[in-house]
Amino acid sequence: MNSYETIKDRSMNSSPSVAKEGGGPYLVCGTLLENPMVVSSYHKMRIRTPIPYEDIHPGQFVMVRISEEPFPLLRRPFSIHSLRELRTKEGSDIEILYKIVGKGTNLMASWKRGKRLDILGPLGKGFSLSINKGVQVLIAGGIGAAGLFALGQKMKALGLQCSVFIGGKTKEHILCVDEFRGLGADVHMATEDGSLGFRGMVSDMVRSFLHGLPDPSGLFACGPVGMLKSIAEIAKSQSIPCQVSLESRMACGLGACLGCVIRTKGERPVKSQGETRHEKGASYKRVCKEGPVFNSEEIDWRKI
């Protein structure tokens, strides 16, 4: 394992022109505190890190190095599921809630308490919160719940009222119900097979819920693209601001490789007859840098 410098040493590297932007990302060595299975094929790891608590925002993510060997090569991105400041103020404990889907996550599930982990983060732009009296609606699909809990924690700390909708194929894929209830949120569940809660799509449940709600102040969604699309449509038709957290294959997580881009409706250069003009229209944005949280209006949903 590489002996990384402490983050205090690293901060000396930063040039004055970037120092004002706030802290991070950091390349740190964390310690695995626990890594239990929560339900079949979902694990949750808690990691002690020297990352300052105040530098982490809900919706941000970390890149975890999987192996010192060349295979699997790339780091894997995971949302910061929850965070807690250390009493000593010398860092924070972060949690990652992950689903076993392939080589990397299979390896992660075998990691034992005490393992030293190579963590890069916090990365990306998280959710932005408008402090507003209305109800905040959090919508999670499957493992998407991993990306929303830290937001719930923050909303609770700010005294905001939130309603949480959690959807999944079957009841085995409904995550974090007790955790959200622990925050005092009212939690609604939907399963496609009806094995728990509402039978059908979580987006349908959200649509009817919003109809009876006087002042929803914002939607915050994380989950599969199909679900996010439906939520974006609902938000548009009801004129409610909506933020979505997107995923994409990533290599660097730092905005350098341009591998993680998605189509947005920004300005774009258009080529015609060897000339490039700037037209208002789609452009690519980096999920790791301008995202992973986007305003749903920004996204070109047809291209996703």
Binding site: S15, L73, R249, A251, A256, L258, R263, T276
Partner: protein, 315 residues
């Protein structure tokens, strides 16, 4: 490694080299397209420690790049089809160079074009920009006028581009070669003759990956370029061949993750190396490789890195 690193990091006389007329404090540079414009890494990496930074390839006009998905991981490597997305020359000079100028590390601007004329224009307009130590001419890009054949796949076209750039640039030019050719020595000799001050290789190897479940290609562009540890043995062979074909300095690139990987290239005859994909896996890779090379020199009694260059022992 137990060696703690030099007392004044990155400034050991043992490590300093002069390559194609550019003075580097050590022979390890960040490869084009894998280190952005430096700013992406500044919070994590001490940019002053690097031997050099090759910026993301720049074209005259901004380029949008290919549609996603653009990357896929494969065995000990990755394939990318970024499609040369970049901010364009104007924004590069205005927004990116001033930032990089603050550091005591030479910046080499990577350029590419669709015609020889575009290469000329890029070379001209970058020539008097302060803070740029040299150019890296990426010839692994399609020649628009020749139906999209890569400049770097044809000795004549490569020669033309390099001669054109050389006439417009007063600073040193390094020509980055594509490995997707039948005989690298022909291209290497052609660009040397055209006036290149150095060559760097390899760029990525054309590659492809398929998802058997959906029977779809894993990249929207279908094909892309392979990089990372998987390509190192191929890269090393090509560097060795190039070293034996030309007199100008050769910079080794391809799958370098560790100090030992870099040493292989140097022993095979590369005067310097570039680190690419490793920056994604370990953002501090360049610095760790620099320290590791220096530790090796100290341990094995080398006074200077140059003693190691091309020191391959052939039975």
């Amino acid at each position: 490694m137990t060696y703690e690193g030099p007392k004044s990091p990155g400034h050991s006389p043992r490590m300093s080299i002069d390559i194609a007329g550019i003075k580097l404090k050590n022979p390890v540079m960040a490869a084009s397209g894998t280190f952005g414009y430096g700013e992406e890494f500044v919070r994590i990496v001490d940019l002053n420690r690097l031997g050099g930074i090759i910026t993301k390839g720049i074209s005259i006009k901004p380029m949008e790049g290919n549609s996603p998905p653009r990357i896929v991981e494969t065995a000990s490597g990755m394939i990318n089809s970024i499609g040369l997305q970049n901010v364009g020359l104007q924004a590069f000079i205005r927004d990116k160079v001033p930032f990089l100028r603050q550091f005591k590390t030479p910046v080499i601007a990577s350029i590419f074009g669709g015609t020889a004329g575009e290469f000329r224009e890029l070379a001209k307009r970058l020539d008097d920009v302060p803070g740029i130590a040299g150019l890296e001419v990426n010839i692994s890009c399609p020649n628009v006028a020749k139906g999209g054949v890569l400049f770097g796949a044809d000795p004549k076209m490569a020669h033309l581009v390099v001669r054109t750039v050389k006439r417009s640039a007063h600073r040193p030019i390094i020509v980055k070669l594509s490995p997707n050719v039948t005989d690298i020595t022909l291209i290497a000799k052609a660009v040397e003759e055209a006036g290149a001050d150095g060559i760097s290789l390899i760029n990525t190897l054309m590659a492809m990956a398929v998802d058997p479940q959906s029977r779809r290609p894993l990249l929207d562009n279908i094909i892309g370029g392979l990089s990372g540890p998987a390509i190192k043995p191929v890269a090393l062979r090509l560097v060795w061949e190039a070293v034996n074909a030309v007199q100008i300095p050769v910079i080794g690139i391809g799958g370098i993750m560790t100090p030992e990987d870099a040493l292989e290239f140097i022993i095979a005859g590369a005067c310097a190396v570039q680190v690419g994909t490793a920056n994604f896996v370990n953002p501090n890779a360049c610095v760790e490789i620099i320290d590791g090379i220096e530790a090796y020199l100290v341990k094995n009694g080398f006074q200077h890195i140059n003693e190691l260059v091309g020191s391959l022992r052939i039975p």
